[in-house]
Symmetry: C2
Subunit: 276 residues, 2 copies
């Protein structure tokens, strides 16, 4: 499975040394990215990801050097090279090479084709544990590359058998490190309205769930979260993933709830039929 | 002037493509660095920088793969290659290559020899303008690569003829984006005690200034700062650099004050005689 990385009008093997060490993404965290995948070989909701990516770039005063059409072309080529049925794409835009370690002259833009991350199917069936963590992301609307808390805490997560951190600050829950959160209380679905990345899967779940249940975008306190009937997280790689434990506190009866399972099934159906 | 980058037991030209694009410093901001320079060809206070670097690495659960002695050896070699009288060094440690984009297996460590950044001598004589900016650095004690606010604001700074941002949060001043701050009030010198990077030059100034004036490490409010008799910033590249304007507010009489100038002279003397 030959996966490639597009960079500066060329396709490079995925593990080729490509980047000079004065890239501002590396030296100054001046970078943003997005991550999406194919269903039925087609980049899922590419336009939505692209809009978020270009909006993020604008927020960071970075210009994306390719048009939507050019990116589609590159992605199609990366897909053909891969020979796989389904792949993931990572778009990465940095401040580019800085002769002085600080000044952005011309952004670096790359698109990596990657093997799909293998989510543990047991997690999807049984749900995951998360650990509460007092933090709110800086620039929450922008998909920057700042994941240092998730990285530093990775060993603690492993030790505690947890999958992720649940960010909360001043009593309000925002998100996990790389995915949005929802709770279910009395058959109503609630997801935080602020200090969150506007997830593509989050929006898809809001749209689909609204046809079946009341859905509210509003503040969720940490105690609301702990006392929810159900909780789940949503992301490109996770779809709808039940959260059954927060620290040592069991959510609901400790099993994925009926609404979480319904929404999992709804999303599966969307994915299965995408592009057909 | 051939400057090189040490990486994985080899010396590479400074602008060689070296890094694979799945480095966690690039993808997840999982990286720290330090930056120092030579005086009289000798890395200035290397032990202090090294201690800070290894402490930062520990805070981020990253292991530095070289010993102090090995790093000294590499730095000496980089200096010889350069053929320059004085150079700068950038040490960079990242979470390394992640097959899955998240998991750190083995850190990447590099040491770049760099030409000295050319500070404008006029700035040192006339002082600089900074812009107040509401923010406090995440993990202020750790020299991570997160400088995204400085990067995003760089155009605004240029437009306003300002050199840097003055971080303040909840009424308290902490630091500039890459350097510490001091104020002088009634011949007493004050520098913030918390939410700041413990700068090597900051400590040197505290040590030297204490022999001449009362020096206090304590909280500075934004209004204290604006009403100071003098203000200055300290860093490896800037030494003691007077701050004469915060936004449109003039500090003191708008010129570098006598204590700032005294400390500039004291540091010049230290630098001039280093290693002699």
């Amino acid at each position: 499975m030959p996966f490639f990385c597009y960079f500066e009008n060329e396709f490079h093997p995925l593990d080729a040394p490509l980047l000079k060490t004065n890239d501002l993404g590396l030296l100054r965290g001046y970078a943003l990215f997005d991550y999406l995948r194919t269903y039925n070989g087609i980049p899922f909701q590419l336009k939505a990801y692209w809009n978020r990516f270009t909006q993020s770039a604008k927020s960071l005063n970075l210009e994306v050097p390719l048009t939507y059409e050019q990116v589609q072309e590159v992605m199609a080529q990366l897909y053909r090279f891969s020979g796989e049925a389904e792949i993931a794409y990572r778009l990465l835009l940095t401040g580019g090479y800085a002769p002085d370690g600080m000044t952005s002259i011309k952004p670096n833009f790359m698109i990596r084709a990657e093997p799909l991350s293998r989510e543990n199917p047991v997690s999807r069936r049984n749900g995951i544990k998360v650990i509460p963590y007092e933090y709110v992301r800086d620039m929450p609307l922008v998909k920057t590359t700042n994941y240092i808390h998730a990285m530093v805490m990775s060993q603690t997560l492993r030790e505690q058998g947890a999958s992720d951190l649940l960010f909360h600050k001043e009593g309000r829950v925002s998100e996990l490190t790389r995915s949005n959160v929802f709770i279910v209380k009395n058959s109503e679905i609630i997801t935080p309205d602020r200090d969150v990345l506007k997830g593509i899967t989050r929006q898809l779940v809001i749209d689909k769930a609204s046809q079946l249940f009341p859905v509210h975008e509003k503040s969720i306190s940490l105690s609301d979260f702990l006392q929810a009937d159900e909780a789940f997280t949503t992301s490109t790689t996770k779809g709808v993933m039940p959260i059954v434990k927060v620290g040592e506190q069991v959510i609901g009866d400790g099993n994925p709830g009926p609404i979480s399972k319904t929404l999992q099934a709804v999303l599966e159906e969307v994915y299965k039929n995408y592009g057909k």
